[in-house]
């Protein structure tokens, strides 16, 4: 049909296609029949991720017109974009929010494909490439955060280097490779610029092409049905029959939903960019400004939490081994579970896994944004002791309250809900610990509390402990050392008494 006479039929377009020869293969790919039951709103996330990738490419190229990838100028060029270049703030906002949306949509896409069992035969490799695409997306998010080159980026690089330094034997070399030299500086920024602008996008675009090619080759998976078992012998024939029986052209019968969702997601990015504005930059990357509490972007808050909640002795093995196991498990999943049930109702372990992982990541992200483990550095000087805790106290106890405040106990211990949350709140400490126990804990520390023996003199200690002993709710008894009575006077009757 697409012979030489198509040139006459279609004028300029026909002339072009006679040379290009792309019209028919593209038309065939777009209109390929797909089972009617997968024209669903659950099947729109992959195309949405691709649309967001295009948005990131376009906005990224626009930012590249102004951005200066040098350690001395990068932060300044972002200020220029935010404040002086017409609409520079909006392009930065689009790129930043587009990144957040892309990570979220890629994750949702992955969860949907997992719960629908779409990774099974013959789409194993499509899943594996998808896992790599997720890692590359996270890589883009991380390197993009570095290019912001503010305080958070600077200290985030320090964290990355510190993690690398924990690798046995080659840790030092890895640190130098990561930083491009002995310190975080120009060479560090330019290598992350290379990664963010050339290397990862190149692999990402190629990977997306392979991913979509395989999706076309094997067709979009049909809607899973309980009891419909995937078997390597029969699946492709069954899928082919289903497509012949119920097939609808992908464009436009199924693709209109993708298109509607793409519009919605791009509008959402535009709205977030407009209302919330560009993300950062925070303070300049000056390492001598140490009044900072560095925090990663949203996609990495869970990691930030994990690194502070792991027991110290587990940390190095965990951060070196767990990623290998997790990525390996994700890559091997379709090999191990290539056949069998696809429907979530018949795969309780899959549903349970997703639920548990989602709750764990959700909680870690929540803690990452509230950082209860970090001392509140200014609580001692900015949060007064609740007045009720100072009523009817002796002068010694009041002196103890001053010691508590002055010695920065509040940085880690809350009173009346205000203060650090690294240690337990002290509002009812006297109901839990005896005088001796409090003295021991304050002076010797332990259980993740530093020892204060060096920074408190005996009179300060005495006053502090006396004040702490007043901290208990009304009508709540003081903690007593049950063993003390037993040791001092032998019980009259054999039953222990109160």
């Amino acid at each position: 049909m697409m012979g030489p006479n198509s040139e006459k039929r279609k004028g300029l377009l026909g002339w072009l296609d006679h040379r290009l020869g792309l019209y028919k293969p593209m038309k065939d790919a777009a209109e390929h029949p797909t089972p009617a039951n997968n024209a669903s709103w659950f099947y729109v996330f992959g195309s949405a991720a691709t649309v967001l990738l295009m948005l990131q490419v376009v906005t990224g190229i626009l930012l590249g017109l102004i951005y200066s990838p040098t350690a001395s100028n990068a932060w300044g060029s972002l200020q220029l974009l935010n404040h002086s270049i017409p609409l520079g703030w909006y392009i930065r906002a689009l790129h930043g929010w587009g990144s957040n949306f892309m990570v979220a949509i890629v994750l949702i896409h992955l969860v949907q494909v997992f719960l629908f069992g779409s990774y099974k035969y013959p789409r194993e490799l499509t899943w594996m490439v998808g896992v790599v695409l997720l890692l590359l997306t996270l890589g883009m998010a991380f390197t993009g955060q570095v290019l912001r080159f503010d305080q958070d980026a600077y200290w985030g690089l320090g964290i990355g280097a510190s993690i690398m330094s924990r690798v046995p034997w080659i840790g030092g070399s890895l640190v130098h490779l990561l930083l491009g030299g002995p310190i975080i500086g120009e060479a560090t920024l330019t290598r992350f610029f290379d990664l963010h602008v050339f290397i990862i996008p190149g692999i990402l675009l190629g990977g997306v092409a392979v991913h979509i090619w395989m999706t076309l080759r094997h067709g979009v998976s049909e809607w899973p049905m309980p009891g419909r078992i995937v078997s390597k012998e029969t699946y492709e024939r069954e899928y082919h029959e289903l497509t012949e029986k119920t097939g609808i052209p992908f464009v436009p019968d199924a693709a209109w939903k993708d298109a509607v969702f793409a519009v919605a997601i791009v509008l959402a990015v535009m709205a977030c960019a407009f209302y919330f504005g560009p993300i950062g930059p925070s303070g300049p990357p000056d390492p001598t400004i140490i009044q900072t509490a560095p925090k990663p972007d949203a996609p990495f808050l869970w990691l930030f939490s994990l690194l502070s909640l792991l027991p110290p002795e587990l940390e190095t093995p965990f951060i070196l081994i767990a990623p290998v196991l997790a990525i390996g498990a994700m890559l091997l999943l379709p090999v191990v579970a290539a056949e069998g049930e696809r429907h979530w109702a018949r795969r309780p372990i899959a549903v349970l896994s997703v639920s548990v992982i989602a709750v764990v990541f959700g909680l870690l992200t929540h803690y990452g944004s509230t950082t209860p483990w970090s001392p509140v550095m200014d609580a001692w000087s900015s949060d007064p002791i609740p007045v009720a805790y100072l009523h009817d106290r002796t002068p010694l106890e009041l002196r103890g309250a001053v010691v508590l405040q002055y010695k920065q106990c509040r940085d880690c211990h809350a009173l009346g809900g205000v203060g650090g949350k690294r240690g337990p709140a002290l509002d009812t400490i006297a109901t839990r610990m005896t005088e001796d126990q409090i003295i021991r804990q304050v002076l010797q520390g332990g259980g993740n509390m530093p020892a204060y023996g060096n920074s408190l003199n005996p009179s300060e200690t005495k006053a502090l402990v006396k004040f702490l002993l007043t901290l208990r709710g009304e009508n709540q008894p003081r903690a007593v050392d049950a063993s003390r009575d037993v040791g001092v006077k032998p019980p009259v009757n054999p039953r222990p008494h109160k």
Partner: protein, 210 residues
């Protein structure tokens, strides 16, 4: 009839053409394989400088240098103060990232400890709290005592310490690599793991409570 010999005549050279073609094909296939092998060889040779360039930061170690932190009088005995300097391994374009901060603790007239601000856990900048005599890290809550030893939290060891040299009036430290667990070469040696280290603290505690 007259066409018969013609055909056979035509067929005859065809046969030899076929033989020649097969020979040509075999020769071309050989030449192609040979040229692929030559490309591989040239590629391997070319890869040496490319990889060498990439590994430059590993193969060329910067030894660091001694840095003047200023007059000793700026650091009163018994106090811990923040000092800053420009890294001796600074390069073109580093800008303000070449600035380095450190904590200087003047223990006695002729005894000084200089700590890196980088937490031994994951490198965040620790802050000194004079009143409670602790270094606290804002990231994950690591805490260190005044002498740099680990107090609590996730760090596996005490603060990184620079090598110190005192002259009559000046304080010098040896700086180079950003201090991490693996690149503390320019810093003073410290035992790597001191998680269970409480003996010293206990001893001090007894002294204080006595």
């Amino acid at each position: 009839m007259s066409e018969e010999p013609q055909k056979s005549q035509q067929a005859e050279p065809k046969m030899t053409d076929g033989g020649q073609a097969a020979a040509l094909h075999s020769r071309r296939a050989f030449l192609f394989k040979l040229s692929v092998a030559m490309n591989a060889a040239v590629g391997a040779v070319l890869a040496v400088p490319l990889v060498g360039y990439l590994l430059g930061p590993v193969t060329k170690r910067e030894p660091g240098d001694w840095i003047d932190l200023g007059n000793l009088n700026e650091f009163p005995v018994g106090q811990t103060r923040l000092a800053s300097f420009r890294s001796p391994v600074e390069r073109l374009g580093d800008g303000e990232t070449a600035k380095v901060a450190c904590w200087v603790r003047r223990v006695a007239e002729k005894q000084v400890q200089v700590f890196a601000v980088n937490c031994a856990h994951l490198g965040c900048p620790v802050r000194w709290f004079e009143q409670s005599k602790l270094f606290l890290c804002p990231c994950h809550g690591g805490a260190y005592y005044a002498d740099g030893s680990r107090a609590s939290g996730p760090p596996e060891r005490g603060l990184f310490e620079y090598r110190v040299r005192l002259t009559d009036s000046s304080l010098y430290i040896h700086a180079g690599d950003m201090p991490t667990l693996a690149t503390e070469a320019s810093c003073g040696k410290k035992p790597l793991v001191q998680i269970e280290r409480t003996a010293e603290a206990d001893g001090d505690t007894e002294g204080a409570s006595a």
